[in-house]
């Protein structure tokens, strides 16, 4: 994937906050259209692209059993902020998704009013605040966005409900690392794109539904609804996970650049987890295993319990500084996740799906 970097940079330069994903969806659709047979937008706004299975003439001849189907879910929505009130030209705001207010003061942002307005998140001087917060971070409700316009102009251009997105530019760091806001989870969207590119040069039995889901950061809404609408034989969520970096010490957190992370735990069907590990080992794709004690924190959580239940897997890309505007991932890990998915799907046939069982027993 020669053009991973420019594609990813384009994804990272767009807003598309939870519930308002349209801007980024157009770019994803442009990338997926030539790699899939059909594309549609769900009622919730998720992009659902179907790449039909090929090969296995028996299936094509209208065999009684349908092709196996797999859903790849990568959420495209981003965390961000929303204007709650316009007070004498100052914008007060709330968060969409989990934002640590301590990283906000001094951030360049874009306010999506009647026209896009560059702005800054500001924290007032301590002497205007009660003494108990002097020298300490001010809470979200006491931060403002300043768009540098007159109060009248601001009131005309901005109103409650307008979105605020990070306006930090993506940057390439040394060692094949890339930084930007919304790598959570556009990095995974890029990995799925990479997977579809590889599949376009392969023969595979399975129908592949690539889904760029919406509202993962607020309610997992896209995961619930696309899985219900598509009802695949199995589903894999591709998302980012915490990576080792400054401020982390927990031994179970994986390192950046050491491969795809294959999740293991109650939110993951063990049959799929083992198959992913087997494929990674066979193809010598670097990977790490990680235990997830309960909630995987990904779209696999809603997908697993959709309707009568769907076997799910989780593959993660390690990421530093999650939910800040300067998230960092390794480009190598993105490519590995794309390859691992493609190799897994290439091997996916009806027999695999029929044999999905919980235990090693017959």
């Amino acid at each position: 994937m020669g053009d991973l970097v420019p594609y990813l940079k384009e994804l990272l330069s767009l807003p598309g906050l939870s519930g308002h994903e349209a801007p980024v969806m157009d770019v994803v659709r442009r990338a997926w259209a030539p790699l899939s047979d059909e594309q549609r937008v769900s009622r919730m706004g998720s992009l659902e692209a179907l790449r039909k299975g090929r090969g296995d003439p028996e299936q094509d001849a209208g065999a009684s059993r349908p092709r196996p189907s797999i859903l790849l879910a990568a959420h495209m929505d981003a965390i961000g902020m929303m204007v709650t009130a316009v007070v004498d030209g100052w914008l007060s705001f709330t968060q969409i998704g989990g934002v640590d207010p301590r990283v906000l003061p001094g951030q360049p942002v874009l306010v999506h009013g009647r026209e896009p307005l560059p702005g800054i998140v500001v924290q007032g001087p301590d002497f205007l605040a009660p003494e108990d917060v002097h020298g300490r971070p001010h809470p979200l409700e006491r931060l403002w966005v300043d768009v540098g316009r007159t109060a009248e102009e601001t009131a005309r251009l901005v109103r409650p409900g307008d979105l605020i997105s990070y306006d930090t530019q993506p940057a390439e760091l040394s060692g094949e690392l890339i930084s930007g806001h919304t790598l959570d989870n556009r990095a995974s969207v890029a990995a799925v794109t990479h997977c579809l590119e590889i599949l376009s040069r392969r023969i595979h039995d399975a129908d592949v539904w690539a889904v760029a889901t919406v509202q993962e950061e607020v309610s997992f809404g896209g995961g619930y609804t696309s899985a219900f609408g598509i009802r695949p034989d199995l589903a894999i969520a591709i998302d980012v996970c915490q990576a080792q970096g400054p401020g982390t010490s927990e031994a179970h957190i994986p390192h950046l650049g050491r491969g795809a992370v294959v999740g293991k735990g109650p939110n993951i069907h063990p049959y799929i987890q083992r198959a992913l590990v087997r494929v990674a080992e066979e193809m010598e794709i670097p990977f790490l295993s990680r235990g997830m004690a309960a909630h995987s924190g990904t779209d696999a959580y809603p997908m697993q319990v959709t309707a009568g239940g769907i076997p799910t897997g989780v593959i993660s890309i390690p990421l530093r500084y999650m939910h800040t505007p300067v998230e960092v991932v390794s480009l190598k890990d993105i490519r590995r996740v794309g390859r691992l998915l493609a190799e897994f799907i290439t091997r996916l046939d009806r027999a695999f799906v029929d044999n999905i069982t919980w235990d090693d027993e017959p």
Binding site: A251, G265, A294, Q304, V305, D359
Partner: protein
């Protein structure tokens, strides 16, 4: 006038049933890794049911049609197979492993316990700093989870332990006087209850017994199962805390939840479910008419699989009945044989003598 001769036909808990409970209690089945319990359940229910299958969440769904009449109500009973436990998160070397808690375990319950790790049941212990090495100040605080390790000893055993493996308490089941003691009696008591009811399935209903997974981490299995089963109504059979200990200041304990020896606990309201009032009245009336002891569980917190079941599809009227047990979510729970017997009896008699139009009344 109620014909109480029906009581004579209710299943009796004898030595065999207790032996089965012992096997179930000693088996490891931490949420998401219920395989060993599932194997025992399948072995039991396959000869009893018309059909038994394992679904995508690992639930066992066992169905037995009635023989009486032709418009039999479709009843779903659910009991969760999983137990709270631990998950290995990182290898410190030398046979020492970091772990996370799966489900709700009070950190004060862990130090000084023996555990069994993984499917191979590798013995391990969770130690604590010797009292000689601690200060009085230190002893006032809970030993932080982050300092605890599972110690399996160096060498061969450690090489078979990896992140994502579960560990369960190593407690052995005991039957002592009127009491049953063991780990995971929450909810192997429910599991054993369902097996006994299936063995003596009332012929007037179509009975589906669902042995669910992942209850302790968010009622994950039961919802998907109820979606497939589509029952007319459902009863979750579980274990509920008996906090019937004395208060420090000697005043009346008004927060016992349930009391040992007072019979099965009928739920009207917990955090996950408002029980269908018609089902509550039916169970209570059955207890009163047949002279089977029962208690109303104190409404409030907690929850059972009913929380997920009743919200499936267009809504499933649901209620829960639990065997009271002291010290749940610890290494050893204590219940009364008599309460278990009365739980089996109440459920069986209520189902067998179910009035027509149970759900028609307002």
């Amino acid at each position: 006038m109620t014909d109480t001769s029906l009581l004579k036909h209710a299943p009796q808990i004898g030595a065999e049933a207790i032996a089965l409970l012992e096997q179930l209690s000693n088996a490891s089945g931490v949420s998401g890794d219920e395989g060993a319990v599932r194997a025992l359940v399948l072995e039991q229910v396959r000869p009893l049911a018309d059909s038994a299958r394992v679904d995508a969440l690992g639930n066992v769904i066992a169905f037995k049609a009635g023989t009486q009449g032709d418009a039999r109500p479709k009843v779903m009973l659910a009991a969760h197979m999983d137990e709270v436990g631990l998950m290995i998160s990182a290898d410190d070397g030398d046979g020492l492993f970091q772990f996370q808690v799966v489900g709700g375990i009070d950190a004060r319950q862990l130090a000084g316990k023996a555990v069994l790790v993984g499917k191979a049941r590798i013995p391990g212990v969770i130690g604590a700093r010797a009292i000689h090495l601690t200060s009085p100040e230190e002893r006032r605080n809970t030993i932080p989870l982050s300092t605890l390790r599972i110690d399996v000893g160096p060498g061969e055993a450690a090489s078979r332990v990896e992140p994502g493996d579960r560990a369960a308490f190593a407690t052995r089941f005991r039957h002592s006087g009127p009491s049953l003691m063991g780990k995971a009696l929450d909810n192997r008591l429910g599991v054993a209850t369902l097996i006994e009811l299936l063995r003596a399935a009332p012929e007037n209903i179509d009975l589906t017994c669902v042995f669910t997974t992942q209850e302790e981490i968010g009622l994950r299995g039961a919802g998907a199962a109820a979606y497939s089963v589509q029952p007319d109504f459902a009863i979750a059979v579980d274990s509920t805390p008996a906090n019937d200990l004395p208060a420090w200041d000697g005043t009346e304990n008004a927060r016992y939840n349930t009391r040992l020896g007072y019979g099965p606990a009928i739920y009207s309201y917990d955090r996950g479910t408002i029980s269908d009032p018609r089902l509550v009245r039916w169970l209570a009336r059955t207890g009163e008419e047949y002279g089977i002891p029962f208690q109303m569980r104190q409404p409030g917190g907690g929850g059972t699989d009913a929380g997920a079941i009743h919200q499936q599809r267009a809504g499933v009227p649901s209620v829960s009945v639990s065997v009271p047990g002291r010290y749940p979510h610890t290494a050893i729970l204590l219940a009364r044989l008599e309460d278990w017997q009365n739980t089996v009896r109440l459920l069986w008699v209520a189902l067998r003598a179910m009035p027509e139009g149970l759900l028609a009344e307002e």
